[in-house]
């Protein structure tokens, strides 16, 4: 059996604000992610799931415990782990094409190839014709597609997604979810997807890691492999049972997070 691609062992993280007391965001998190697997990190607000994502991405330093990517500890952010943020983080002064090209420019590819690659990914996410638009001219859904194209373009092995559809309206979100799945099926990568939406997690992921309220711990890992091509999947009994099962796990934590927050 191949060793897991991503190994997270005993990771804790303390958040130290400039003023006020330090807060333990994550406590002793352990998780193995296999190559090409789609894993969802699910939990109530404040449980540290985004923090865990940033640790994997190398944006925050791992102080306690270790995170290994293919056996090697991470040192810094890098193009092997592409990240997609909830609020798109597009460079507003660059066009769609300019944004997508940014990562490609760093790869040292010849100009022709860069342009071609950029175009193919813009087409992949369905933004053909908008290459020369600026982010401020686009809707939320289109901006997120640009962000996706940008990250996919430099072909990271691992995709880190931080509630990428959280800022979109319900209909767009639904569309983006199925598009993401079809893109993933075509260009399979390891995906770690952070969300607080149970249904989204069950729909998209192979496995759902449920996290507890702060300090975050992996409470349970549930298998959620279904035949996602079924258009009526959201009404499928096995699917809804699974959603219920996981929702029960999350609800307790959500309540804890609420009441804990009140202090």
């Amino acid at each position: 059996m191949a060793q897991a691609q991503i190994v997270i062992a005993g990771v804790s993280h303390c958040y130290r604000p400039p003023s006020g007391r330090p807060v333990l965001a994550l406590e002793d998190v352990t998780l193995d992610v296999r190559g090409r697997e789609f894993v969802a990190l699910l939990g109530p607000s404040g449980c540290g799931k985004s923090t865990l994502l940033y640790l994997i991405g190398g944006f925050l330093p791992t102080e306690t415990g270790k995170i290994l990517i293919e056996g090697k500890p991470i040192a810094a952010p890098g193009p092997d782990r592409g990240i997609v943020f909830q609020h798109f983080a597009l460079f507003p002064w660059k066009t769609v094409r300019g944004n997508v090209l940014y990562g490609l420019e760093r790869m040292g590819l010849p100009r022709e190839e860069r342009q071609q690659r950029a175009q193919s990914f813009i087409d992949l996410v369905g933004l053909s014709g908008f290459e020369d638009s600026y982010p401020s001219q686009l809707s939320g859904g289109m901006r997120q597609r640009t962000a996706l194209a940008r990250t996919l373009a430099f072909d990271p092995k691992i995709l880190l997604m931080d509630e990428p559809f959280g800022a979109l309206d319900a209909q767009t979100r639904g569309l983006m979810q199925s598009e993401l799945l079809s893109i993933w099926q075509r260009t399979p990568k390891t995906v770690i997807f952070v969300t607080h939406d149970v249904q989204e997690a069950v729909y998209l992921a192979d496995r759902v890691a449920v996290m507890s309220a702060r300090p975050g711990r992996i409470k349970a890992i549930v298998d959620t492999k279904f035949d996602k091509s079924d258009p009526a999947i959201f009404r499928n009994k096995a699917f809804t049972d699974k959603v219920d099962e996981i929702w029960n796990l999350v609800r307790i934590e959500a309540i804890k997070a609420q009441t804990g927050r009140a202090s």
């Binding site: 592409g82 943020f85 460079f91 507003p92 600026y134 401020s136 940008r150």
Partner: protein, 276 residues
């Protein structure tokens, strides 16, 4: 999917916008004309002596003759040259200093009190000192202008760079950008709107200071000309100067706004609503 940018379709009905801008333009003209008429009538009414309030027509005549004689052009040129020279020096130094302060802890520690204390000071009080050190010609004027202009630019640069979204920097790092590239390719463009606001504040300041230094030191330039007029009790000349300077000040501010709009095209478009 429709080809081409969405903005054309989604913009507010252009007729509306045009009407509103036209409406304001019209109001401006009406107010200005009303003011001009009031001035002329007041001057002619005999309530004021021609010394206290020369008629608008006389003042305009004077401006015209200055223009023909070439004096107006020379003076305007001198003042604008000094103002722009000082402004550019202040702008470049301000941005550079702002970037340095954002990056380097020591620079930040060293300059922070200087900026914070220096900002509200009437730095014009140092003009005699600058004159003592640098003489009575352009050098001291331009230095004074630069010193005054640098403050809003530094502050704006610092605020702008500090305000760059963390996730923008992280995305760039994710794609392999080095520290240098982060500063020049990401932080600076992201801070640009704020920096330009700082420049927009600095330019009128440069003009004000240019005029004051000229009034103090005399010689050529719009300020110097007004000072001379004042010395010779030439009230038409004084009023002519006010009108000229008002026009230039207005043109400058409008011009800068246009430049801002062009540079920040990508930012401006955020005002246009989008669909889909």
């Amino acid at each position: 999917m429709p080809g081409g940018p969405l903005a054309e379709l989604a913009r507010e009905p252009s007729a509306y916008r045009w009407l509103r801008t036209a409406g304001w333009g019209f109001a401006r003209v009406v107010s200005l004309v009303a003011l001009a008429v009031a001035w002329e009538l007041a001057a002619r009414s005999g309530a004021f002596t021609p010394y206290m309030l020369p008629a608008l027509s006389a003042v305009l005549e004077r401006i015209w003759s200055d223009l023909i004689a070439g004096d107006l052009v020379v003076n305007t040129g001198e003042t604008l040259y000094r103002a722009f020279a000082g402004f550019l020096i202040g702008a470049v130094a301000g941005i550079a200093l702002g970037m340095g302060i954002s990056r380097n802890r020591f620079t930040h520690w060293f300059f922070d009190p200087i900026i914070s204390v220096g900002f509200p000071m009437p730095k014009i009080a140092f003009l005699p000192v600058v004159m003592l050190w640098l003489g009575v010609y352009d050098m001291s004027k331009i230095t004074m202008i630069a010193v005054e202009a640098i403050f809003p630019v530094v502050t704006a640069t610092i605020v702008g760079i500090r305000g760059v979204e963390r996730e923008l920097l992280w995305s760039a790092r994710n794609m392999g950008a080095t520290e240098r590239e982060l500063l020049w390719q990401i932080a600076l463009p992201a801070a640009l709107p704020q920096i330009i606001t700082g420049l927009q504040v600095a330019l009128p300041i440069a003009l004000i200071v240019a005029i004051v230094t000229e009034m103090f030191m005399g010689g050529y330039g719009l300020g110097g000309a007004m000072n001379t007029a004042s010395r010779f009790a030439d009230s038409r000349g004084v009023f002519a100067g006010i009108v000229e300077i008002a026009v230039i000040g207005y043109a400058l501010v409008k011009g800068v706004m246009l430049v801002r709009r062009r540079l920040l095209l990508w930012h401006q478009e955020a005002l246009a609503p989008s669909t889909v």
